[in-house]
Amino acid sequence: MGMTIAEKILAQHAGKDVVRPGELITARVDMVLGNDITSPLAINEFKKIGVNRVFDKDRIALVPDHFTPNKDIKSAEQSKLLREFAREHQITYYYEVGRMGIEHALLPEEGLALPGEIIIGADSHTCTYGALGAMSTGVGSTDMAAAMALGEAWFKVPSTLKFVFNGKLQPWVSGKDLVLYLIGKIGVDGALYRSMEFWGEMISSLSMDSRLAMCNMAIEAGAKCGIIEPDQITLDYVTPRAKRNFTPVYVDKDAEYEKVYTFSGDEIEPQVAFPHLPENTRGISEVGEVRLDQVVIGSCTNGRMEDLRIAAEILRGKKVHRDVRLLIIPGTQNIVRQAMREGLLEIFIAAEAVVSTPTCGPCLGGHMGILANGERALATTNRNFVGRMGHPGSEVYLSNPAIAAASAIAGKICAPGEVL
């Protein structure tokens, strides 16, 4: 009996020929990641262990992205702790403001997340790198501390759910829509403790940016990871930027899945998740009249080049509705620069949108676009829990960047066709 991609990667890193679902193992990790919210706790715990050094200064990434540029004194103190730790331990991949990006946009771009690797991060959206064929998963700060000391972590081998997307992508449908659609089908705990594998013609045709958006939201179905087997698109993306040697891992032909789900392209139109769970999805044609106060395009889910290009295509020559604030947050400094070169920032500002430096900011109700009581936002982010973007009495809807850009123009949730 063969192994799924997650099983194979876990087995290799645990020094075993075979692992099976349910087995508890200790495995080597290729990269340990933390941000300005989770790392301070991890640093305190690391100090308690009593080791003098981190396991490998080239295999730790520290990215101050959540409350940066720092929003208040307390968050500045947190970032300072991170910065001082990075200096003390000569952490190679510490990214200061001005060089940073939203962690899950940044690490792939920097070639620090690679096929066949295990990456753990003290951030739930670490599952993003499954798009590159890695077994990557979110953990807590104490896990991060232990991994910084030992270079390993404990794992329960997950069983795997296989999702097959047959057929062609409909207009304006992206990886974000595929993942929202499947969360709508299986629920926010539909893949609890599981690995998800994404297969099929639609997945093969997805760009890397779209794949990253899709795997980013595996956690919103409760999954440990969401993986796409490496193909030519993957290798074209990682090869020029890889900071380490890597060996792609491919699925065994006789791999055993707990369950197989099959979806067809003609059933999937652009999706919108209604408050207050990502599983409350509807196709764009079934949304009805939802007026908006704010639209956010950005985040570790949809702040990449493709997302900005799509938004610009729709916003070109248009104005944001007078009742709406549109915030556009490119994922990394490189993306800001590229968007500038391509003239996208000009289009956004001419449309009367705000363009921000990279930050997680409003996605988690941190800063830069907090909602008041009763306000309603449409965001390309990943969560719409109660109070996620501000006041517990506010509402967040989730969509892809095309829907978000069109809706910012219309002042209500709508398909791009209504404004183009």
Partner: protein, 165 residues
């Protein structure tokens, strides 16, 4: 351990347990002041040391923030029982030594205000208000060892020491 129950529903997310607007500190006592605030505003003032939380499916879904189980622990909650836990919350609780038990039957039957007695080692939950007894699945030996060492840091220190000797 024995205590009174606060009951919650399905999919209690980490933003409900500790909203991100308070994450500019890692101080557990400071975090505990805002425990479950967006689910029940007066919860921080009502919860007492030794109380227990019982919830339905997918407790702790969402963010990886360890601030969530830390706030629960610092808030004096002795144990969390749920039908199921989100996976990062589950490992965080084990790693920081917050007692948790998975028991669909207990999660279903126990109501707000019930008094319960929990035997962690045996995995039994006794509902003193109704007389019912529920059995939670036992922890695998590896996880039990982590918990016996007071959490992952204690476990790592113990392992490093035993490797040296």
């Amino acid at each position: 351990m024995q205590g009174y129950v606060w009951k919650f529903g399905n999919d209690i997310d980490t933003d409900a347990i500790i909203p991100a607007r308070y994450l500019n500190t890692s101080d557990p006592a400071e975090l505990a002041k805002h425990l479950m605030e967006d689910a029940d505003e007066s919860f921080p003032s009502k919860v007492k040391a030794g109380d227990m939380i019982v919830a339905l499916k997918n407790f702790g879904c969402g963010s990886s923030r360890e601030h969530a189980p830390l706030a629960i622990k610092a808030g004096g909650v002795a144990c969390v029982i749920a039908h199921s836990f989100a996976r990062i919350f589950y490992r965080n609780a084990i790693n920081i030594g917050l007692p948790i038990l998975e028991s669909p039957a207990a999660a279903e039957k126990i109501e707000q205000g019930h008094e319960i007695r929990v035997d962690l080692a045996a995995g039994t939950i006794e509902n003193l208000s109704t007389g019912e007894i529920y059995q939670a699945a036992p922890f695998p030996p590896f996880m039990q060892t982590i918990m016996d060492k007071g959490g992952l840091i204690g476990y790592v220190k113990w392992r490093l020491e035993s490797e040296q000797s």
